[in-house]
Symmetry: C2
Subunit: 338 residues, 2 copies
């Protein structure tokens, strides 16, 4: 008698808000649909018809964007985070030469914020359209008590395809091959936990203009992860190996594609390290070796090709340039930076 | 001079711990590999060769397990949460008749806890092996400052396949068809935010024995999401529609597969509602309608078939029983519960 009636809404979960989000998301997602998509959003699963391949190999990856999210939340700018998520995933499957097919996302927050979700999805849908990839589903989860108020986590899952005979896996790499670096657009999505320790990510601090960056710290830190698929796509037949320079930097990623008995030798000074990295290094008094292990240092992708293909590749990608070569391994070193 | 040198480890990110986790995960994941898996774990992406299908349609889903995680963390039991995640995803794609192919996971926590991750992955790998699905990749993210100490979020992504001509989508459902309910094992992964409002999820409270449950509250709340694929797989040709009863309960999920102009009529009392739901309803003084909208009320999957197939299906699934029928829609009602 008179006892309070509990409902799911009292518990902080708003099923109606979830329904409203589905409607917003559906519109953005539909704009990314390719003819292979057989389902609409809001079903239990996404359906994608695979046709036109002789020996299809599905290539998939799951990724987050790390604590770059904290910067986005501080500035209330969520569009570019959606772009980050997509481009990171597309770059990951591009390492074996795969073309993106479809994408699913997961967004979790303490309390559903339809505007924030709409903004993230808008960025995702934009980046997906640029590479012909369909957003065929996803999950928006309300998790009261797990996430701090106003913050969220974001995960992307991509599936692409490559013909079995065209898989790029580094196995044909030989001593004497050239390593070409493709410039990053900044930090991409790595090293933000360290950056947040050195610089305040309060809105006011992020709005400070840094002459060496030519823009505010917040603008620099929210610069989206670069998209390499359109430029690399026509060049894939000439490429022997592709390393996506993410967490772990060049030392943590480039050796993953180099065959046993060989080692990548990288020449510092062969490319320009963007000013954000010098700023971080100076601010934290960070050893150079640690900088290379945490950040991409200006190289977003490293590709390996035969010396005879270098001219053709760098002509097609004017921003790319040789940054090292593959040599015989002497001891057990996994990477040489000179 | 003498300034403190910052490193990524100081910032709360431990790349070495991440490397140790990769080793543990790799062993568990390899045990799930099917012959179609062409990659090992630890690469940028997972490779899966698709062969043997005439008109393959890929079916995918992204899911979390909600705040059931909070119960798992309170009791330090993470194995069953891994099972929950997999079974939820497998059930989602089963709604269109898809067989699971491969899976990727995302685990994010404030500070990498290798034992917790190993336990989650062990549960996932176990559940994946049961349905012949390969764990071909995933991401373990350390996000200091986003997650509370000792807690984590967990996301699963699944890809399955169905022949285009065998897609189950409810379109052949007619008035007069029977709705069969498959029992759930408890709450599955829905309604935990409300449960947490009514019952303390402190370890001591979760260890209280409830005579009506025949076990402790913690044991009841951690009961894993039921696996329906093995029992339904041979029966799929007789099934016209499958609804996975998740968030939103029967009213939020069953109407999704019913064609326009028809409506599902469900008979309360045609199945036994497990005691956990009565306990929750009593404790929160919750209206019955709200109970049905939040919880599965004992029905984990609802399937629709022609009346002539009911005997065959219920014989093959002794725990399943008719719970309603499909009738002509009179007004604009989306579900009738009588």
């Amino acid at each position: 008698m008179g006892a309070k009636r509990e409902s799911y809404r009292d518990a902080g979960v708003d099923i109606d808000a979830a329904d409203r989000i589905v409607k917003v998301v559906r519109k953005q997602a539909r704009a990314t649909f390719t003819p292979e998509v057989l389902s609409d959003l809001g079903f239990f699963s996404g359906l994608f018809e695979l046709k036109g391949y002789l020996e299809p190999v599905l290539v998939s990856s799951a990724d987050g964007v790390g604590t770059k999210l904290k910067v986005a939340c501080a500035l209330g700018r969520h569009h570019t985070i959606g772009i980050d998520l997509v481009n990171h995933c597309v770059n990951d499957i591009l390492t074996c030469g795969a073309a993106p097919l479809f994408f699913q996302d997961y967004i979790a927050m303490a309390k559903l914020a339809p505007e924030t979700v709409a903004s993230i999805i808008e960025g995702m849908a934009h980046a997906l359209s640029e590479v012909g990839c369909a957003l065929i589903g996803g999950e928006t989860a309300e998790m009261p008590g797990l996430y701090p108020e106003g913050e969220y986590d974001l995960v992307g899952f991509i599936v692409g395809v490559v013909e079995k005979g065209s898989i790029i896996d580094g196995s044909s790499i030989k001593a004497g091959d050239t390593i070409i670096g493709l410039p990053s657009s900044g930090l991409h999505t790595n090293g933000y936990s360290l950056v947040r320790r050195l610089f305040s990510v309060e809105p006011q601090a992020l709005k400070i203009f840094y002459p060496e960056l030519g823009r505010t710290l917040g603008e620099e830190l929210l610069e989206p992860h670069r998209r390499y698929y359109p430029v690399l796509k026509p060049l894939l037949p000439q490429i022997k190996g592709i390393a996506h320079i993410t967490g772990g930097g060049i030392p943590g990623n480039l050796p993953r594609i180099i065959p046993k008995g060989l080692v990548a030798k990288i020449e510092k000074g062969s490319w320009e390290v963007p000013p954000i990295f010098s700023l971080i290094q100076k601010e934290g008094n960070i050893e150079e070796q640690e900088m290379y292990r945490v950040f991409n240092m200006g190289i977003g992708m490293a590709i390996v090709c035969a010396p005879g293909d270098v001219e053709r590749l760098t002509k097609a990608m004017p921003e790319a340039s040789p940054i090292g070569e593959v040599i015989e391994q002497k001891k057990r070193e996994r990477l040489i930076i000179v």
